[in-house]
């Protein structure tokens, strides 16, 4: 499906050659034929599918490297960025969401709501740039961009300084959404009978919230989280671009704009597979957490 859509879109990977004064039209024809771009689309699709089955992802039309290499170069970087931002997200979203629900209509709840609206509505490219100008250019506390200081050995502190802003921006934005979700889920369970029963038994409030309320409120949240798993692979296009993070998001963007079919198809296939997998994980987790829908 995506293969057909991609091929149906006008444009081609050789557009960079067309206005190169040293490359003549006959040469472009020769290059196209060499790359197999002139075969009928079904033939190209079958060839691609056949290669896929034998784990041959082919070569990039733009850089001539094996597609698998291109992905392997970027994937670890994206996993690090998305992983760190996910942990940060949870560290912010869970306490904020729970507390906002427990203290509904308190000053904290209002502040959290305002913060969440700020996070949801703020454009990442603008906020990212603002951070760069503040922390890198004005205060010089952090480096503007990149993953590490170039030309130095691995240094954890250096890495942390580089990841702080991109992961922070990502975490703030997704924590805004998650915290709202958690707050709603908590509010729902907090007024349930069993929570009242727990309190009536004389359990301490903290224990009521943690053991009885939060555990149940976590059900829908865990599903939501599992469904976001493919993001770990696909990365974040805008954040990666602004902070020059060498990740999958930028690879995807570059491949789209240059119509590098083989790389695009690889990314789409893997993310489709991950989407299915994350759905499965979500279902299994749900069954595990909620005894009511466990299979007999």
């Amino acid at each position: 499906m995506s293969f057909a859509l991609m091929k149906a879109a006008p444009g081609g990977p050789l557009s960079i050659y067309l206005e190169n004064p040293d490359i003549r039209p006959e040469d472009i024809a020769a290059i196209r034929a060499q790359l197999g771009l002139d075969d009928p689309v079904p033939v190209q699709y079958l060839r691609w599918l056949g290669n896929l089955v034998s784990f041959d992802w082919g070569y990039s039309f733009v850089t001539h490297e094996p597609v698998i290499d291109r992905i392997a170069q970027r994937l670890p970087n994206t996993l690090v960025l998305m992983g760190v931002s996910l942990v940060l997200t949870l560290l912010i979203a869970i306490p904020v969401g729970v507390l906002a629900a427990v203290r509904q209509y308190s000053w904290f709840d209002y502040t959290a709501t305002a913060g969440a609206f700020f996070g949801i509505s703020m454009p990442v490219f603008w906020f990212g740039l603002l951070l760069i100008l503040t922390f890198a250019v004005q205060l010089r506390w952090l480096p503007t961009s990149g993953m590490a200081t170039i030309g130095t050995e691995f240094d954890l502190i250096d890495r942390v300084r580089h990841i702080a802003m991109p992961a922070g921006v990502l975490a703030l934005v997704s924590a805004a959404g998650y915290s709202r979700f958690i707050r709603t889920a908590m509010l729902e369970v907090i007024h349930q009978d069993y929570v009242r029963t727990a309190r009536a038994k004389g359990l301490r409030e903290r224990l009521v919230i943690a053991r009885h309320a939060a555990k149940n409120a976590a059900l829908p949240f865990v599903t939501l989280l599992a469904l976001d798993l493919p993001d770990l692979f696909t990365g974040a296009v805008v954040t990666e671009t602004i902070f020059a993070w060498p990740g999958m998001g930028r690879l995807y963007l570059d491949s789209v704009s240059r119509l590098d079919y083989s790389v695009l198809m690889a990314i789409l296939t893997v993310s489709a597979a991950l989407l299915l997998l994350s759905n499965l994980i979500a279902d299994l987790l749900y069954a595990y957490l909620d005894p009511r829908i466990r299979y007999r």
Binding site: G11, E19, P21, A29, I132
Partner: protein, 557 residues
């Protein structure tokens, strides 16, 4: 990103470097003694596709890096003339290295050249480059015989006389080492070889590290024949966002930012400790007018209902205030463009068109276009409405489009702006590319001609280059579908003679005809803007090459 095709083969220095705060107004860094060692950090906004010069797409960023790594047989000096590089001398008819009939060319190579790995450079290397590149280069296939006479002499014979023979094996198609590849490697093997990620050549530096989407590190070639490089390292850092690049400059995280545009200049001119290198080059942004009836594909035998009329085309050109574009949009950093190649030995002297809306109105009246109810002209029930396609996301071109739109509205022409991504706008014929298929009225983008006018004039205006559904003819560059018998004849003659005066006269005549017939409206030349820290010395803009042309002379104060 300037130009959707970043391939400036040549650049012209218009304004020399100016120090923002220096008391004399002179660049403080030039002429200063550099100490040895140190790292120069360069930031650029795109990643090269490959660093194998035989298989690159001509990306400007790739050429900027490769220029520090590879050498050609000869290169352009600051006047645009060819000077020997790997060759001992430039072959000409006068020195006897080009045969009387112009078909046999003998080249003597320098004997003291070593590759960055210490192995000697020989004639076999040059032949290897010809072998590998010819399947995808018709210009190289015109060489019918390639003989290695001895280790340092080659001789090639050409099927037809090729006036631009010095563009073969010249920069940017730097020579790659034969021994870097397995014996008997095919062109496909060479293309996919890891050499493209970690190349070495005969230039001052070699690539020692390329981290995808992050940076490329260069270290000196100790055996460089042009002298030992002063720096220990050059690091090219890839930063896709322009604002982040400028933040790197302000935060002192870089020493040189390449490939900026005119509108970046005002902010940078105020920075202490930095200097701006401004170079205006042969790149010009222009409107390509489709003279044939648009369609998928265009009907090359039927004139465009509006643009088919020369007087309408002239009226459109007269009602664009080009000087205003230069002053307002490009902040006065460049000049109005008048022809395909404003610099070099063959540059024609074509005066800029004037801005004359009254004359434009008169021409349109004369052509039978009368104002309709809403002020837009009509003729026989057809509205005078055109669309323009440029590349999406290019702020500068969007501003220009808006100004042109306003100017044309004043003379009763409606312009619709329909921008597309580069891969669509200039995609190949079989991929349904807009200009190749001729679906458009007007295409708007930049082009950078090579040093020899053949590659920009003959290829652009010859009627044989009109894209059409015939084998090998689909991706011709005459996307204006311009047809002129005199131009065809002049181009054929000029391409097939070695007489420079005759070639120059013919190409100039073609540009005069083009100015008269208006298949292309040249708008403005593009400046090439770089900003460098005062710490770096030895940086010098070159009229015809990239900023990295003399990296062996770069140093830190």
């Amino acid at each position: 990103m300037r130009g959707i095709f970043a391939i400036p083969i040549a650049m012209l220095l218009v304004a020399s470097a100016c120090a923002p705060a220096g008391p004399s107004g002179q660049p403080a860094a030039t002429g200063e003694q550099a100490k040895s060692g140190g790292t120069a950090r360069v930031t650029m906004n795109q990643e090269p596709d490959t660093l194998n010069p035989l298989f690159g797409g001509g990306l400007r960023v790739a050429n900027t890096v490769m220029q520090a790594v590879f050498s050609g047989l000869w290169v352009n000096d600051e006047k645009g003339d060819f000077q020997p590089d790997l060759a001992a001398e430039v072959p000409t008819v006068q020195n006897g290295s080009v045969s009387r009939d112009g078909k046999t060319i003998t080249v003597k190579l320098r004997k003291d050249v070593k590759w960055a790995d210490g192995k000697p450079f020989t004639a076999q290397d040059v032949k290897f480059n010809w072998d590998i590149a010819k399947p995808t280069s018709s210009a190289l296939r015109n060489i019918t015989e390639f003989n290695v006479k001895d280790d340092h002499t080659i001789e090639w014979k050409m099927g037809t006389v090729f006036g631009a023979y010095l563009t073969l094996f010249s920069y940017p198609s730097g020579i790659v080492p034969k021994h870097a590849f397995p014996e008997g490697a095919t062109p496909d093997d060479v293309k996919k070889h890891e050499f493209g990620r970690k190349p070495f050549g005969t230039g001052p530096f070699k690539v020692t590290e390329w981290q995808a989407a992050s940076h490329i590190t260069l270290e000196p070639n100790a055996s460089y024949f042009g002298g030992k490089p002063k720096l220990d390292k050059i690091v090219f850092r890839i930063t896709p966002d322009k604002n982040t690049q400028l933040a790197q400059v302000r935060a002192g995280e870089t020493d040189l930012a390449v490939d900026l545009i005119e509108t970046d200049a005002p902010e940078l001119e105020r920075l202490d400790g930095w200097r701006i290198l401004t170079v205006a080059g042969p790149t010009s942004d222009r409107l390509f007018l489709n003279l044939a009836k648009p369609g998928d594909p265009a009907d090359n035998t039927t004139p465009h209902p509006v643009l088919g009329d020369k007087n309408v085309r002239k009226a459109l050109e007269l009602s664009i205030n080009k000087q205003e574009l230069v002053d307002k949009v490009l902040l006065g950093k460049t000049k109005v463009a008048t022809s395909e190649y404003p610099v070099g030995w063959a540059a024609p002297n074509i005066p800029p068109t004037r801005y004359d809306a009254a004359e434009a109105q008169r021409l349109l009246e004369q052509a039978g276009w009368r104002p309709g109810a809403d002020g837009i002209r009509e003729k026989g029930g057809t509205r005078l409405k055109l669309s323009v396609n440029s590349t999406t996301g290019n702020k500068l071109r969007e501003d220009v489009e808006a100004l042109i739109q306003a100017g044309w509205k004043r003379i009763g022409v409606e312009l619709e702006i329909k921008n597309q991504t580069a891969a669509v706008l200039v995609g190949e014929w079989s991929a349904g590319g807009t200009v190749q298929k001729g679906k458009h009225d007007i295409a708007f983008y930049g082009f950078t001609p090579g040093i020899d006018p053949r590659s920009s004039v003959s290829v652009r205006f010859h009627s044989d280059q009109i894209p059409r559904d015939e084998p090998g003819k689909q991706n011709g560059s005459n996307n204006m579908r311009f047809r002129n018998a005199e131009v065809d004849k002049l181009a054929d003659e000029a391409d097939a003679t070695l007489d420079l005066e005759k070639r120059k006269a013919n190409y100039t005549r073609i540009m005069q005809i083009v100015a008269e017939e208006v298949p292309i409206i040249y708008l403005y030349n593009r400046a090439n803007i770089e900003v460098a820290s005062q710490k770096v010395v030895g940086l010098k803009s070159h009229p015809f090459r990239w900023i990295t042309w003399n990296t062996h002379e770069w140093g830190l104060r």
